[in-house]
């Protein structure tokens, strides 16, 4: 039994806007174990970014509010933690890398400054030691000429290098959990390949757990061990990665997998999931996928389905598999 690192239970997040209350996350349950790479996949508006930011309590309040649930990290209550404690966790025990490295690196400071700042802050060491740590991390992410990179500004680096610098920066304090929010979406495919390879290697070496968020099923299939599928603010399926792709349980997962164009296969027409992602101010009742589901039946519009274990480690929240507990 793996040690549990992050335990999210019943998490609900709402945004109070002029147009109404956006129910961005509803009753989300997720567990990240020590040393695993958990993928979080879903389309725009499903709430995966909101989930990631909630873990570090980065949701702006107003207009967002965590309206329910608990988040435990290494047994500690995150939602009840003091601001001081949170600051010491962020970047130190839980790190986050974002999609656009240009906007998460301050363009008016040199890369070295920003990286060393993080190290000095959390590890309470002097500049010299911090610089040494940074150079070390940069070479671990296979950055050519780490010393030179430290004195460069973010815009002087390419997208791939910036992302690698970000990874180096976030892993410099040896966190237990790394949250990666679409880290390769904005990169070219060959650069993405490099970044993914580095990420895989580093996580193997350091044993850090990763919550890997993406909408790209190929990337998820490549590096994740377990996958959670999200739709309209809820988790609809959690499964070991091979089982998800070979035996998807939820109609949405199935539709999604059939809609992806494949390089190795010939598909005449791509399968289409009819309709559009619902707005979350007035989400559909019961199972939020039911208006678009071809296998919808009677209880789907009334009752929210609870996760059911259909195989070991494979849970599906769908009435086709029973209603669970």
């Amino acid at each position: 039994m793996e040690e549990i690192l992050l335990d999210i239970s019943g998490l609900s997040v709402r945004f109070f806007t002029y147009q109404g209350i956006v129910k961005a996350l509803e009753d989300v349950n997720l567990i990240v174990s020590k040393g695993e790479i958990l993928g979080l996949v879903g389309e725009t508006g499903c709430g995966k970014s909101v989930l990631a930011r909630s873990v570090l309590r980065l949701i702006a309040d107003p207009p967002g509010k965590i309206s329910g649930g608990k988040i435990f990290f290494k047994g500690e209550d995150i939602l009840g933690a003091s601001k001081r404690r949170l600051r010491s966790i962020r970047g130190n025990e839980i790190s986050m890398i974002f999609q656009e490295p240009m906007s998460s690196l301050n363009p008016v400071f040199r890369v070295g400054n920003q990286m060393m700042e993080v190290v000095m802050l959390h590890q309470r060491v002097g500049r010299g030691e911090a610089r040494r740590v940074c150079v070390d991390m940069l070479s671990q992410v296979k950055m050519p000429d780490p010393d030179a990179v430290l004195s460069k500004y973010p815009h002087e680096l390419s997208g791939g290098m910036r992302q690698r610098a970000m990874i180096a920066m976030e892993l410099s304090c040896r966190p237990d959990l790394l949250i990666a929010d679409e880290p390769t979406t904005a990169l070219d495919v060959t650069v993405q390949a490099q970044v993914l390879t580095i990420l895989e290697e580093l996580t193997r070496q350091t044993g850090v757990s990763v919550l890997f968020i993406s909408h790209d099923l190929g990337v998820i299939a490549q590096i994740c061990e377990r996958v959670a599928v999200m739709y309209a603010g809820r988790i609809v399926e959690i499964s070991p990665v091979r089982k998800l792709f070979s035996n998807p349980g939820h109609p949405y997962s199935r539709g999604l997998l059939k809609a992806v164009p494949q390089v190795d296969e010939e598909r005449e027409t791509l399968n289409v999931v009819p309709g559009v992602v619902p707005g979350l101010i007035h989400p559909p009742g019961g199972c939020r996928f039911h208006p678009r589901c071809e296998e919808m039946w009677e209880p789907c519009s009334r009752i929210v389905p609870h996760p059911v274990e259909i195989e070991p480690g494979h849970q599906v929240a769908c009435h086709l598999w029973g209603s669970g507990k």
């Binding site: 389309e43 725009t44 390419s158 997208g159 791939g160 290098m161 070219d188 495919v189 060959t190 650069v191 993405q192 390949a193 490099q194 993914l196 390879t197 909408h215 790209d216 099923l217 190929g218 990337v219 998820i220 299939a221 490549q222 590096i223 990665v241 091979r242 792709f245 070979s246 539709g255 999604l256 997998l257 809609a259 992806v260 164009p261 494949q262 390089v263 190795d264 598909r267 027409t269 791509l270 399968n271 289409v272 999931v273 559009v276 992602v277």
Partner: protein, 351 residues
């Protein structure tokens, strides 16, 4: 062989970048550096490459939204490169474009009626109630409801906005359409809808397409023939099946290898290339790809390989494949072995 509907010959576009004081030391960004291809009526040519390769610029050049520095674009045998004014406008009706970003490709302050009707309006093809009628028809064609005419773009989702963009492109009844990354900003399930729509329209109406994308799997789905671009030049041109079954150029092979397959059974080491995508300002000498090429020879750094037809309908710009008409002695990539954990087998070439 019937005349191609679009023929591009040695298209060239350099952008001058003013570095240095008083314009001295000005460099040029070689966005498109000598590109040639043909598109037959009713077929789709997929143009694939990473950022900075110039594929979007090619699209803009064909549409005359950018003026080419050198080279020609021929539409149905007639040169369009130098056209202006009236004549250009007449051609514009027959060549249209669909852009990438559903956010900025529609004017947020315009009614859908005006957005989709604009090509009719500015060309004097229809007005008033006739225009509204044709807009409604077009909306139906692309799968939207007719009463969307009086709405604004922000009331629609990304996928629907792309459909509106497609409606706008098709309303004048063009023969040729350039799709510039039309689904890159869309979710997977929406992308599937749009791609199906695009293919369906081609089957029914016989449009010819230039489909630009960085996504190989999307390109594979919609194209008949594919051209791979790198740093302003085409490095490989082939029919779809051939390209994926047996990619010849090392860059094409690297692209395929770097693509993570949506199937955990097909995990493979991804990174074959070192270094970053270089900038089109500093184009390497000789073969542009040689600094990153895992199979570069000495010759590759000094002599630029020409795009040659090494097999019927297969064009490659690579010294390793040059001059060899038979497929025997060319580097082969065994795509079926991509599933194995080790690096795929590569049979090297005897020069």
């Amino acid at each position: 062989m019937p005349d191609p509907i679009i023929e591009v010959r040695d298209l060239l576009k350099h952008f001058a970048i003013h570095r240095g004081f008083l314009g001295r030391g000005a460099e040029s960004l070689k966005a498109v550096d000598g590109v040639s291809f043909r598109i037959q009526a009713g077929e789709t040519l997929g143009l694939v490459g990473e950022s900075g390769c110039g594929k979007s610029t090619v699209g803009l050049l064909i549409l005359n939204l950018l003026r080419a520095d050198r080279g020609q674009v021929l539409f149905e045998g007639m040169e369009t490169t130098g056209l202006e004014g009236e004549e250009l406008q007449k051609i514009r009706r027959r060549m249209q474009v669909v852009f990438q970003d559903p956010q900025s490709s529609l004017d947020p302050r315009m009614l859908i009626k005006k957005i989709v009707g604009c090509p009719l309006e500015v060309n004097g093809l229809a007005s008033g109630s006739e225009l509204v009628k044709r807009v409604r028809e077009m909306l139906r064609e692309v799968g939207l409801s007719e009463d969307h005419v009086y709405r604004y773009p922000h009331e629609f989702s990304g996928g629907q906005r792309q459909r509106i963009g497609i409606a706008r492109a098709l309303i004048t009844g063009p023969d040729f359409i350039v799709f510039d990354e039309p689904t890159s900003a869309l979710d997977v399930s929406v992308q599937a809808q749009i791609l199906n729509l695009i293919r369906d329209l081609q089957k029914r109406k016989g449009y010819s397409y230039l489909f630009i994308s960085h996504d190989l799997s999307v390109i594979k789905h919609v194209s008949h023939r594919i051209a791979v671009m790198y740093l302003g030049k085409i490095v490989e041109k082939a029919p779809k099946k051939d390209l994926f079954a047996k990619p010849l150029h090392p860059y094409t092979r690297a692209l395929l290898a770097a693509l993570p397959r949506p199937d955990p059974e097909k995990r493979h080491p991804l990174a074959v290339l070192e270094g970053d995508v270089p900038s089109p300002v500093n184009v390497p000498g000789g073969c542009r790809f040689h600094p990153r090429c895992p199979e570069a020879l000495d010759r590759c750094s000094t002599v630029e390989p020409a795009l040659e037809e090494v097999e019927p309908k297969r064009w490659v710009a690579c010294h390793l494949c040059a001059g060899e008409k038979s497929s025997e002695s060319c580097l082969r990539f065994d795509a079926s072995k991509a599933g194995e954990r080790d690096a795929p087998e590569v049979e090297s070439c005897r020069l």
